[in-house]
Point group: C2
Chain length 607, copies 2
């Protein structure tokens, strides 16, 4: 037996016990003829005392950092207790020890603040995983999945495994494909999500399904995207949107309770997609702080957002006059910004990622006066009217962006987040949840002049708009005025759960009628044959008694990272890949033996 106790177990009540411990040497401190060793395992650290009589043996078999040792000894009360350590009242006076394995000096320190860079830590991921911060992240991840499983079990959900070797249906993202040796010329694909399977399980009457499952997308990786990622995938039958929102509102609250002991008591706010876009410039607003946008001017008659064109009417400022949209944002207590600082902000919005032409500012001075970058066009009275409308107070800084509607709105949203970052409003210990609802069913894709599904092709239009969808020709005659097409107005029973400005979950009520599903595929530009070839099994299934159903999927990696207070999902994945999709520890992907390719009857294509 390697141990009688773990390194986190022993307490003052264990004094006088003879124990055996095993673990890693964390530190060695020599004081004359005696040595103290901190012995570490997953459960904690126990101080070992090697007395004088063991020194000759230690001289022959010296210990080193990260050596794996086994010791037998006697638990005694410490002279200098350590209140920071659960085992800090005791130490083990070692009578025998055995070096189970030696260790080279690790290439970086096994500490919270390690000196190892990203690449080195990834190459030696098995050492990086020893660090307490990383271990805590994986423990948090496990705690979250356990909380989810317990909650869903209590709600009568059943976990069902769906297959990984499925059929390639290149809608949306790109599939990873897997050549089939036994079916020459054919390929499996790895699932981007179990979407169609969970819908089939509803047709099969499983009523409430979930699965915590790996999904795969062969996309060009942006920072913090992984080619394989984990979803909490859920589906329910005989439900409306309200049932799903309630079920999963309780799930996320349960997670916070179970893993953070946090009572998230208030109901989760619900906001329409339209409101989110106008009030925050983004479909996943961070509502830990206010700083709402004020829509001063809008081109579009049908905008539901209140605008205040009178504020800028009659002035001669050509930038505002020519702009489709003018949007204002108040940065609280930033009225003291210097010219250098406002110039720097101007440069920030002109970066290609943001792409604005410039930035107008109005400083609300402490004495009630105003100073702006457009003093030439706006007198004090006009500036005051803008400030009052935006809710700016003395000492605040108002930032104004003007340009094309969608671009300006998006830029204002980005600027809002950037100012919040600078003002330290994005506190990782504060958690703010939000449902975004009433998404448009379609988005317009100008490259192909057709509709694409905003969520996915299985999302249902709102009940009262089914007729609009069934009774209109989806083709867009006038690309310039696509917003006038009846499809532009169709909203979906789709919903996203947003946590601190990140989409952590999303789903929808699904289409469950064959004719509507066919119409959807047609609307997306798919031929009948193509739709049948790809999704025939689902449309056939809809003919044999498909119930109304809907679901949601959560991105587990992202959810863990936000709850864990980190920006990076990689810190919450045991063996992540880098931005080129490589596992640098394994050195994967790698070349394979030619024999393997031959068996698949494949070869490289010439350049």
């Amino acid at each position: 037996m390697y141990r009688t106790h773990t390194c986190g177990h022993l307490r003052i009540t264990d004094v006088n016990r003879i124990v055996t411990l095993s673990g890693w040497v964390q530190t060695i401190r020599k004081f004359g003829a005696i040595s103290f060793v901190d012995l570490r395992d997953r459960y904690g650290i126990t101080q070992l005392l090697f007395g004088e009589e063991l020194q000759p043996l230690l001289d022959v078999h010296p210990l080193g950092r990260e050596f794996v040792i086994q010791v037998k000894g006697f638990v005694q009360e410490r002279e200098n207790k350590n209140a920071h350590l659960a085992t800090g009242d005791i130490e083990v006076l070692v009578s025998e020890f055995d070096i189970l394995n030696t260790a080279l000096v690790p290439p970086f320190t096994i500490q919270d603040d390690t000196d190892g860079g990203d690449d080195l830590r990834m190459k030696y991921r098995y050492l990086d995983l020893r660090r307490n911060v990383v271990k805590k992240n994986l423990e948090l991840r496990y705690a979250i999945t356990r909380s989810v499983r317990n909650y869903l079990h209590e709600q009568s959900f059943i976990e069902v495994e769906t297959p990984f070797l499925i059929k390639s249906t290149p809608e949306g993202a790109r599939d990873f494909i897997v050549p089939s040796r036994m079916n020459e010329g054919q390929f499996y694909a790895l699932p981007q999500s179990p979407q169609t399977f969970k819908q089939l399980l509803m047709v099969s009457g499983y009523d409430r399904y979930f699965q915590i499952v790996k999904c795969f997308r062969d996309e060009d990786l942006r920072a913090d995207r992984q080619p394989e990622f984990t979803q909490i995938d859920c589906e329910m039958s005989f439900v409306e949107q309200e049932d799903i929102l309630n079920t999963f509102e309780n799930m996320i609250k349960r997670i916070f309770k179970d893993v953070k002991n946090l009572d998230y008591e208030e109901p989760i706010e619900r906001m329409s997609w339209e409101d989110a876009m106008w009030r925050f410039g983004i479909d996943k607003p961070d509502t830990r702080f206010d700083m709402e946008l004020t829509n001063i001017k809008t081109l579009f008659q049908n905008s539901k957002s209140k605008s205040y064109p009178e504020l800028i009417a009659g002035t001669d400022f050509p930038v505002f006059n020519q702009a489709e949209t003018v949007i204002a944002l108040v940065a609280p207590e930033c009225g003291f910004y210097t010219r250098k600082q406002t110039d720097e902000l101007t440069e920030w919005v002109k970066r290609p990622q943001i792409g604005m032409q410039g930035l107008v500012y109005i400083k609300c001075n402490a004495d009630g006066s105003y100073k702006s970058s457009v003093d030439k066009y706006f007198d004090e009275e006009k500036l005051q009217a803008i400030a009052e409308t935006c809710g700016a107070r003395a000492g605040d800084l108002i930032l104004l962006l003007a340009g094309k509607e969608e671009k300006t709105r998006k830029a204002a949203g980005e600027l809002r987040l950037e100012m919040a970052r600078r003002l330290n409003f994005r506190n990782t210990e504060t958690f703010k949840l939000l449902w975004i609802i009433d998404f448009p069913l379609f988005e317009y894709d100008d490259s192909s002049n057709r509709w694409v599904a905003r969520h996915h092709p299985f999302t249902a239009p709102k009940k009262e708009q089914i007729a609009v969808m069934l009774n209109n020709d989806p083709s867009i005659k006038n690309a310039e005025n696509y917003l006038a097409h009846p499809f532009a107005e169709i909203k979906a029973n789709a919903y996203d759960l947003v946590l601190n400005g990140n989409e952590v979950g999303g789903g929808s009520i699904r289409i469950f009628q064959k004719d509507l599903q066919e119409k959807m595929f047609t609307a997306l530009g798919m031929s009948k044959e193509d739709a049948m070839q790809k999704f025939g099994f689902l449309m056939n299934a809809f003919e044999y008694g498909a119930p109304p159903h809907g679901g949601i999927a959560f991105g587990l990696d992202r959810l863990c990272s936000i709850i864990g207070g980190s920006e990076s999902i990689r810190d919450f994945i045991a063996f992540p890949k880098n931005n080129s999709g490589r596992d640098v520890m394994l050195d994967a992907p790698s070349t394979i033996e030619d024999e393997q390719l031959k068996e698949l009857n494949l070869q490289w294509r010439g350049k």
Copy 2:
């Protein structure tokens, strides 16, 4: 809201309630102007009563089998109660109904004894999954995984997800490979198991890891093998074999308690591999019944099995005299077998799958006399001696096989199972567990005249035999006498868990020393460079403080099927593949768009 209650909920105490139910029409029975409908969902069946006043509406909107409907109504006590149904005391008098979806007539009946063949049921798997027997199987599977997760959680295990896109290391089985678009000319492989990752997690100090995870093997499929399958994968640090056997003995007992309410109280028997092979002719004996083999003659001096060569010594039967081995098996109460039946058994052992030359039988007559197929060579006294040694009693039939040792032993094991099948000894409601231990570390591969790992290359030899492995040259000079090589004697701390004659789990104590792991790869004929290229990350990890560790993996699909009392694992997988690795519902694998292949810079190789 689609329902106030499920179809399994309502009881006599709910009488007078106004309720809304949704579900599938299971049956419709018309009695004059009224109709009874059984409404089904996952939770049960509730009887609906459509009164006279609804008939005109039903005539316009007739219901059909598997239609999805919603009804509102009044719970009332039934006149004819149904004791077989949880809801059998009540019925719902319908006041309003709505057809949510119609259904075509299913291509087979949705009943336990369906009229659908295998192919049809697989094509319409979503309908097959509606059948109660299949649903019960998936519920059992979920109950087993839940039981496992709860038990392992209580035992301080942590579930960690390991990657699916890894590196191809074609040892053992064939990998499924995944071309990498972002790393041209390179491939990922899908994991055959998370073996190396769980070992790295031990190096990282995670101490107790588990994962319920999909694994992949691109093998020619035998009946009841799936290219993707699920493992309960576990690993522990600072353990010896005994710790692992105890931990997982309790896990399997907990499963039986949780899902079958069965108290498996006796300790699980442990049997050495050597014993299993001699006593049962197989490394996974079915010990629900006895019928042990009797080893009468063995060629090998070093055999640990007791043999009785005196029983056949001095007779002139050339088949026995020339054979390496003679093995006897007693078929209880089969002494009445006719000549036709023994002939048929003889044909059975001569089938190519068994491959014996013939079969000798001895009938133990009720009157104490004997009748054998070798009366010419064996007198009554000799026959009686054999019968007594084998433990045969009056009325039994003794079957004897002779030939090459390994082949004969295996054939006798097969014949034992076949006789048990004929005698109905293989009762699916009886459960018998068995640990097989002390496996040989190596097997001799005569095609390449080298050693192969019996379990896998990470399995450690028994401690006391490490020196044998380190200090001997693995190369085999004399292929004829490979058993004389010191490696042939090395045993592993490897163990299989056998349930009713099926291997449901297997594992080992692992190598955790770099030098021993290197020696293992050398012994398996891998060059140093090759070993480093494939498993360098693991051997490097062993240099940074690797703890002693070991683990086990259970085949979840098989475990479910045996506990569920079925021969077929497919019945316990929601969307299984057929014997050609095809999903006939999806029609996968399938051809892909040429664009997809081009992006990967791949093309078909000419014939």
